[in-house]
Subunit: 542 residues, 2 copies
């Protein structure tokens, strides 16, 4: 009876054979979903997620889990512990930490309680946590969502709700030792995710400040000149110079002097040599301190084998107010806007598409960034009787998961191999005739036995299911094994275990029901596929 | 030289030996942190998290990870895929889904864009996702935070920001097949977390509706009478009856009839037999359908070996509007308020403590709950030309992680064994004299070698560190191995590997530096301790 069913199956179209890679079919591509939601506008309201946010579908989640797993095991390798903080903070905690960007903070409505806002990054909540708990040293990682009311560019991974993966070292230590380790974490993290064509730009806030001083920028103008320099990754020097002279009222000669310095970049040792030979900078206290620190750091970077990934770049300024020492930013070739961005942008606007579409023609920006911030914890620390506040120096790095995700997802051959479920066994029943019950309860019992043994398995939620439907369902999950309850075989204590996708002539093995768990486990030892583990390997190697 | 250092160390106090369990010291107990934050009120503002929210400290995170890991591997065992949705939804998506509880929704401020609100649960976003993507069947799990502006009772795990772990099956299937599997998931989830003294209350909305009809409740009053019945887990019948008669204007005889039905509870088969023998109910269409469905289900529950955990309880009503079929709720002995709750509450208020403290004297409530909701997806589905909307039937369960966490954390002996880091090796250097460099760069090189080999290791961020400080730091991490660079040994290509906590007379093994990775891996094969894995085992067994 069972044999003849197998024969019948053999005569079916090849669609019903079960290739492992076929799992792809089950997923809903996000792009299609988005289109669909727009079409359904006949409904009472448009079904969508809020602007700048998105759903993560099943296959995307597997890739995301692989990225999180890669990064969190890296952080653990360096002795990191993890913490979590609320999605919203008291509004006063966030106030005065982000400079101009504070306008991008999401506020919660005042519903008659405390005033709160969604967190803008994980750094300020971390500093609040360190101060509130009186912690003197901690290495912590935190993987969580942050919120910015920015102009989104979805396909590039620029979102209003997005994940950050942060690793920070807080505590008083010998100079530049944790800083060098953070750069090792940054480089290892990107390499572990299969990102190879990246470059880490490094600079030091104290050197930058020294440069502005020796060029004649007044102290009160340093922050705004710094934020002009920060635009050099997107705009040519002429534009930035104009901003300094016209908008920010610097004499042209001051701007020109700055222009000479900020074009310096290259290997850390080369640029340090140039800076050291600069008489003006050598006499400047701030610059000298920065230069000395980087001279110490380069030795550590060599020992940690990351020196070669880093270039010292005087044009790197980083926007955030709270940095006080080294700053760094990793970029890839894809970080930059495409060379035809301006042209494409123009065309899109001409054809009447909305502004958001045009913003797709920007780069993804930095894929990981960070720096030293020695004063932030002190902003939350209690003031002592002598009027001093004690701060805990910190240094850290933040990986931009959405940007990394969009780079990784584009890779040739990855998405087709992602299997959204982890199902290993599909339980089927074969039978027929007027007295055929369908063995639904029996399939449940077998499933329960396998679940209890830790085996991922499924069966059709149908009292009587025909073989073709069951094979199709198994194929959808992409699972490697079928367990088959035959109408005559099962009541005799026998059950069939078949490796799927092995070709037409394999009827599987008929075994004793009592041996099922052992046989399944033995077969899975060869053929089990863990989705996240496999994707983690793929991401590293593709 | 190195030998004499070991001898010196032997003469140190026993504090410097490294017992593995000593890792506890590193963590900051949340309670202490909270107290501290109140003391620091001398600061510009009180350092705290918003009301009803909390930070998760390092050790708590390990327990949480173990809980999430246990539940997500359970969900995967049943063929679940995972998705993620934004923390906030368009406000109109949430409108009209939660009945009276809608007032507990957190709104985001109108900052000149769409009106949005924080999600109240994961069920409505799931239904929106299914409808928006035109999905006809999916088994999905989702572990994420939800938000309710409720009165918090923190130590019991009643929070304003809290996690839910949901598993739902959407699709048209044979009656009660997925429903029974969801109950299997519920029971397996609790057992997998070491919860043994629980009971699952089961009921069916159609039976309840039938009961209200045969007792003479008008159709328009059914929802409000149902929500009165929902209070029976907290209030005695007399109080609920009074609410029905006085507040909700039901004739006393109607209330009395309801009272007879809702006190029915016991094994599913017994209660079903009672209901079937009831003439009024047998003639009621709604009740008959429910009774028939449960009669089918009990067979499946038997096959899935969960029948014995479940009692059919006519007093279970569940608050949410969207349920249409079976409903269920798991409770433990600790779910109920303590018997002296009323007394304690009074005392606390008398002594002038705030209201929030009094609310600690409630139970944790249900620890997992769910039901069938066949109409919710249809509320988002597009209307067809014939004016029909097609809904996708769903059934699911939600685990209350904070409540489970607070039960698990209380367990004797668990917290002391939680190690917040996963560090396996501490790298030290021993030396002295005027020419002693401290081997900082050398420790970095060794660390980098071990990190590259996937080994979790740390070293002191200090150029010259004395042996005692290094052993103390190793002890804090609770790591099992030390790797020691001796001033004379290391330049000769030798390095020492010592198992920590093995007593005074063990100097470790002096090996070739080139063999380090192999030796460390071999030793860790015996002594490696993975924090989350160990806690997962402990949670299951304690």
């Amino acid at each position: 009876m069972l044999r003849s069913l197998f024969t019948a199956l053999r005569n079916m179209s090849t669609e019903t054979t079960i290739p492992k890679a076929a799992a792809a079919a089950a997923a809903v591509p996000a792009a299609r979903a988005e289109k669909k939601s727009k079409k359904d506008a006949g409904n009472a309201f448009v079904l969508k997620t809020p602007k700048g946010t998105k759903d993560w579908a099943d296959k995307d989640m597997i890739i995301r889990e692989a990225i999180f797993g890669t990064l969190s095991s890296l952080f653990k390798r360096h002795g990191g512990v993890t913490i979590d903080t609320p999605v919203f903070e008291l509004r006063e905690i966030l106030a005065g930490k982000y400079g101009e960007d504070s306008k991008l903070i999401y506020n919660l409505e005042d519903q008659g309680g405390e005033l709160t806002s969604l967190r803008y990054d994980l750094t300020v909540p971390f500093a609040r946590y360190v101060a509130m708990n009186g912690i003197s040293q901690i290495k912590r990682y935190h993987i969580a969502k942050v919120y910015r009311r920015d102009q989104p560019a979805m396909t590039k991974g620029r979102m209003r709700e997005f994940y950050q993966c942060d690793f920070d070292i807080a505590g008083n230590y010998d100079s530049m030792v944790p800083d060098a380790e953070i750069l090792n974490v940054l480089v290892s993290g990107l390499l572990g995710l299969g990102i190879k064509d990246f470059k880490v730009k490094l600079n030091h806030r104290k050197i930058l400040d020294g440069i502005f001083q020796v060029c004649g920028v007044k102290d009160e103008d340093v922050r705004k000149i710094s934020s002009a320099v920060d635009k050099l990754d997107k705009s040519p020097w002429e534009v930035v110079k104009k901003e300094m002279v016209v908008d920010k009222h610097q004499p042209e000669e001051v701007a020109d002097k700055i222009g000479e310095y900020v074009k310096l970049n290259g290997s850390i040792r080369d640029v340090l040599a140039t800076l050291k030979s600069d008489e003006l900078l050598s006499k400047n206290e701030s610059a000298s301190t920065g230069i000395e620190e980087l001279s110490t750091m380069v030795e550590y970077l060599e020992a940690l084998e990351v020196e070669q990934y880093i270039s010292l770049d005087m044009s790197l300024a980083r926007g955030l107010d709270y940095y006080t020492g080294v700053i760094y930013e990793a970029v890839t070739a894809q970080s930059a806007p495409p060379t035809d961005a301006a042209e494409k942008k123009k065309k899109v606007t001409k054809n009447g598409a909305d502004v958001e579409d045009a913003s797709e023609y920007v780069g993804v920006g930095s894929i990981a960034a960070g720096g030293r911030y020695d004063k932030l914890v002190g902003m939350f620390a209690p003031t002592t009787k002598s009027g001093k506040t004690q701060s805990i120096p910190c240094v850290g790095v933040s990986f931009g998961v959405e940007r990394l995700f969009s780079l990784i997802k584009q890779r040739q051959g990855l998405e087709a191999k992602v299997r959204p479920t982890n199902t290993q066994v599909f339980i089927m029943s074969f039978g027929g005739g007027a007295d055929w019950t369908g063995f639904l309860k029996e399939r449940m019992q077998v499933a329960n036995t396998l679940w209890s043994a830790g085996v991922e398995c499924e069966y059709l939620y149908k009292a009587k299911a025909n073989p073709r439907k069951q094979f199709e369902a198994a194929e959808k999950t992409g699972c490697p094994l079928a367990v088959i309850l035959g109408k005559e075989e099962f009541p005799e204590g026998k059950i069939r275990v078949k490796v799927l996708g092995t070709g037409e002539n394999d009827d599987g093995d008929l075994i004793e029901v009592k041996d099922l768990v052992d046989v399944v486990k033995a077969k899975l030892a060869e053929s089990k596929v863990d989705g996240v583990d496999e994707v983690t390997r793929l991401i590293r190697s593709l």
